[in-house]
């Protein structure tokens, strides 16, 4: 019998879905967006469905290669290739963000290629925190709101924004509940399954996402997927949207229990305040949420998050990933390497291409890393002392 996780996996594996089709039939508009720095609530408050852009189902980058070069990011090229193929024709608009140099250029290429979506908008998110950045981010929110109102002849009021905030906070709370179930010894959901859930709930109306998450939460009660001897890992990176990829890692003998990825903690941590001016509250949450390395001068906060969850979730080691030619995550890997040494967190840094194969190589590296972790744990002096004469290596 099909479980709720089977359903989310199905939703995760396709670009469109029946919920969107249904909404479309009912006259709802669907607006695609990139990046966790784009406030979904503004789109929702206009009466539309925010849809997180994705490269799933992409088979190649042939068409996009004519616009980009060989040293540009494959996630971006796959998404753009899909756009050129008409796979995003169901969208009524796309909001781009200056998340990185590769993705911001999609705004240019999309317009130049004349892809049919009628509303193409660039949303600027500052690269730093602070009062001036917040003020500018708020202005950007107001501009996006006005642009949508003008383009679609709709009105986004404080009431509709408040309702959107309420719904998205509810979604965040459910996700936080599900994520926190992984801090127990017996983990009820694999990260690969959770990534499927994330992909699903960012591609359907939020009301439906809440239903799905409620179902998932219920389904996970009493469920155990981890094995006692499995290593518990933290994963950090940018575009990770391949369920298979996380499955491959977890099948090597570990369970990923926490993360800092776009389709992970960054998406749901930190709720939006419900009192006061709604746009101000939205701006505050989106600018200050758990950051990605595109935010300058915020590494300590990002790394502190890892240290916090290490204790809370019993993390044995961390994996950090970047896609080839990604400067932003390349720099983060350097910082992780320095700080994980200082803080005694075993680290594996992976570089890969999205939908680019190389599974064998990744598997070998993960297996070697896990073996190293297990050996370390087995011979850890403090463990030997704590166990006294009864000490037996785990392996």
């Amino acid at each position: 019998m099909k479980t709720i996780l089977d359903e989310t996996r199905e939703l995760a594996s396709s670009t469109g879905n029946h919920y969107l089709e249904e909404a479309k039939k009912n006259g709802k508009k669907i607006i695609g967006y990139f990046c966790s720095y784009m406030p979904e609530e503004i789109i929702h408050a206009a009466g539309f469905i925010p849809y997180r852009m994705r490269a799933v189902e992409s088979k190649s980058t042939t068409k996009a290669d004519a616009y980009y070069s060989s040293i540009n990011c494959t996630f971006v090229k796959h998404c753009f290739n899909k756009a050129l193929n008409g796979d995003f024709a169901f969208l009524d608009g796309v909001v781009f963000v200056n998340g990185c140099d590769h993705s911001r250029r999609m705004y240019d290429n999309w317009r130049y290629a004349g892809i049919g979506n009628s509303f193409l908008y660039m949303f600027f998110a500052p690269h730093k925190l602070g009062d001036n950045a917040l003020e500018y981010y708020l202005k950007e929110c107001k501009k996006l709101k006005s642009a949508m109102e003008k383009k679609f002849q709709v009105s986004i009021t404080d009431e509709t924004l408040k309702e959107s905030i309420r719904l998205y906070n509810q979604k965040r709370r459910l996700l936080a509940d599900i994520y926190s179930m992984r801090n127990k010894k017996d983990v009820p959901i694999k990260a690969s399954e959770l990534l499927g859930v994330m992909l699903a709930v960012t591609a359907v109306p939020v009301e439906k996402a809440i239903d799905i998450l409620t179902g998932v939460k219920k389904f996970l009660e009493g469920r155990v997927v981890s094995k006692p001897d499995e290593m518990r890992l933290f994963i950090s990176g940018g575009c990770i949207e391949e369920v298979d990829h996380l499955e491959l890692i977890e099948n090597c003998g570990c369970v990923i229990v926490a993360d800092n990825i776009c389709l992970g903690s960054r998406h749901f941590l930190d709720e939006i305040k419900t009192e006061g001016d709604s746009l101000q509250a939205i701006a505050h949450r989106y600018l200050n949420h758990l950051s990605c390395p595109r935010m300058m001068g915020d590494f300590n906060r990002r790394f502190d998050y890892l240290l916090d969850v290490r204790n809370e979730y019993g993390v044995d080691g961390a994996i950090i990933e970047k896609l080839k030619f990604c400067d932003i995550w390349g720099g983060e890997i350097y910082l992780y390497r320095q700080e994980t040494k200082t803080n005694n967190v075993p680290l594996l840094a992976l570089e890969r291409e999205i939908y680019g194969g190389g599974a064998g190589q990744i598997k070998t590296r993960v297996q070697a890393f896990l073996e190293k972790l297990k050996n370390k744990q087995a011979t850890d002096e403090s463990l030997v002392q704590a166990s006294g004469a009864d000490y037996k290596p785990k392996l």
Binding site: A66, I71, D101, G297
Partner: protein, 465 residues
């Protein structure tokens, strides 16, 4: 010949300062300097060898014996500005002066208004070549071997490697920014960790409207507070006014030179604005730099009035897109010499900055914010592709180029991200174009010989020569 694995502290910076100082002194008699460069050409022009390694690059950037005498005079003043900055940096510790790193593409006026030494940490990307053109690559290898991302822009890898090998001063503070590319966003977070210095990050807006200028202006006020707090000093507004006055003059002269290069034949060589850009990067507001710009302007104006070109016969007018090649800056003079090909407009040397109103503290900061967003690279690299296309369109309309050379720097992924649009744009305008896959600071991607070959083949295959 390979660069040393463990150079002495400040070895490359000291050599640069010493050699440039020698050049400055010798060129007090510019004819003597000219003839030394001219007569010794066979010793260094073709390629770097064991014997010419320590002087070839300097001789080449001084025109390799084919830069007219009247231009050597102003170059001398630029060299003085470099030497003063380098010597101040090297002696900063013993003189008890704080060194503030100001990342390239930003500007150091405000640091100059403090009792501090501004240092462009990417200096050795260019001047490292004075010690041998493999020195910048050696510094990058050091950074890469210690975990710096290989895809980062080579300029910042040089910065990191130089610091790791004791070739740069310890910063009291660092000023970095989010433009022109992701490397800056990312690598300066790594450099902050590496040096332990407090960093102020400029955030460049995407658009170029009033809100964007205002945001950048607020960044500038925040910078002043940051420096006052970090250096335990108050800004000297009078000093800032002097620096900006000099900068205004500098920009005026350079802007005029760039405008005169529309003339056919072009009265100036592109190496002049590019050399000035390096002076700007290292020592903006230095009176020697401003006097250099004035003298350059006089030389070019004189040629312009007489209708004389910088080469005897101008065969090809070239538009150069992306920054010049640091390890082969002589490429402009080489093209002039070999083919009569003159670069009439480029990406870096072209000055389009508005003047700064120095009547009050507020107007200075207000205008400086605008000025900085029109600096080379800042103006083309942030924002939508229209910022690039409009500049290219204007260049094609107004500078009558015959072709375009795209120095495809590996670090500029934002530029490569719209390469299809740029190619299409040039094709529609019938502009023959050469796209080079290379790295402007790292000859491990493509060497001087590769670049010469590509350009030669391009000119030949398009019937220019």
């Amino acid at each position: 010949m390979k660069a040393k694995l463990n150079p002495k502290p400040f070895e490359y910076l000291e050599w640069s300062a010493k050699f440039l100082k020698l050049g400055y002194r010798l060129s007090v008699l510019p004819y003597l300097g000219y003839w030394i460069l001219r007569l010794s050409r066979p010793l260094y022009v073709d390629r770097e060898t064991f014997f010419n390694r320590k002087f070839r690059y300097a001789f080449l950037i001084l025109g390799g014996g084919i830069l007219p005498v009247e231009e050597i005079r102003p170059y001398r003043l630029g060299a003085k500005a470099f030497v003063d900055n380098m010597e101040n940096v090297i002696k900063a510790e013993q003189n008890g002066k704080p060194v503030v790193w100001v990342e390239w593409i930003l500007s150091s006026e405000i640091v100059n208004a403090f009792n501090a030494i501004p240092f462009n940490p990417e200096t050795l990307s260019v001047f490292g070549n004075l010690s041998g053109k493999d020195v910048p690559s050696r510094l990058m290898e050091e950074a890469e071997s210690r975990g710096f991302a290989t895809e980062n822009c080579s300029a910042i890898k040089v910065t990191a490697g130089a610091y790791m090998l004791g070739q740069s001063p310890k910063p009291a503070a660092i000023i970095a920014g989010s433009h022109p590319c992701d490397t800056n966003v990312s690598a300066y977070q790594s450099i902050a960790h590496l040096t332990g210095a407090p960093v102020f990050y400029f955030d460049a807006p995407y658009w170029r409207d009033e809100d964007a200028f205002s945001y950048y202006e607020k960044n500038m006020w925040d910078l002043i507070s940051f420096l006052e707090k970090t250096l335990h000093q108050k800004i000297n507004w009078e000093k800032l006014k002097q620096v900006v006055d000099n900068e205004n003059k500098f920009n005026f002269y350079m802007h005029e030179i760039c405008e005169m290069m529309r003339a056919i034949p072009s009265p100036a060589t592109m190496i002049t604005p590019v050399y000035s850009w390096v002076v700007r990067e290292i020592a903006i507001g230095d009176p020697n730099g401003t006097e250099m710009a004035r003298q350059m302007y006089e030389v070019v104006k004189d040629r312009y009035n007489k209708g004389i070109g910088v080469v005897k016969k101008e065969n090809i007018r070239v538009l150069w897109w992306n920054p010049p090649i640091a390890f082969f800056a002589y490429v402009f003079k080489w093209m002039e010499d070999e083919f009569g090909a003159v670069v009439v407009k480029d990406f870096i040397g072209d000055v389009q900055m508005p003047q700064i109103d120095t009547s009050s503290e507020e107007t200075m900061i207000h205008d400086m914010a605008r000025n900085h967003l029109y600096l080379a690279m800042a103006r083309q690299c942030h924002g939508p592709v229209e910022f690039i296309l409009s500049e290219l369109e204007q260049a094609i309309e107004e500078f009558s180029p015959d072709c375009l050379i795209f120095a495809g720097h590996a670090g500029c992924k934002h530029g490569w991200g719209v390469i299809g649009i740029i190619k299409d744009f040039l094709k529609k305008r019938g502009m023959p174009s050469l796209f080079m896959n290379m790295d402007i600071m790292d000859q491990r991607h493509a060497t001087e010989e590769d670049i010469k070959r590509w350009i030669t083949d391009f000119f030949r295959s398009n019937g220019f020569v």
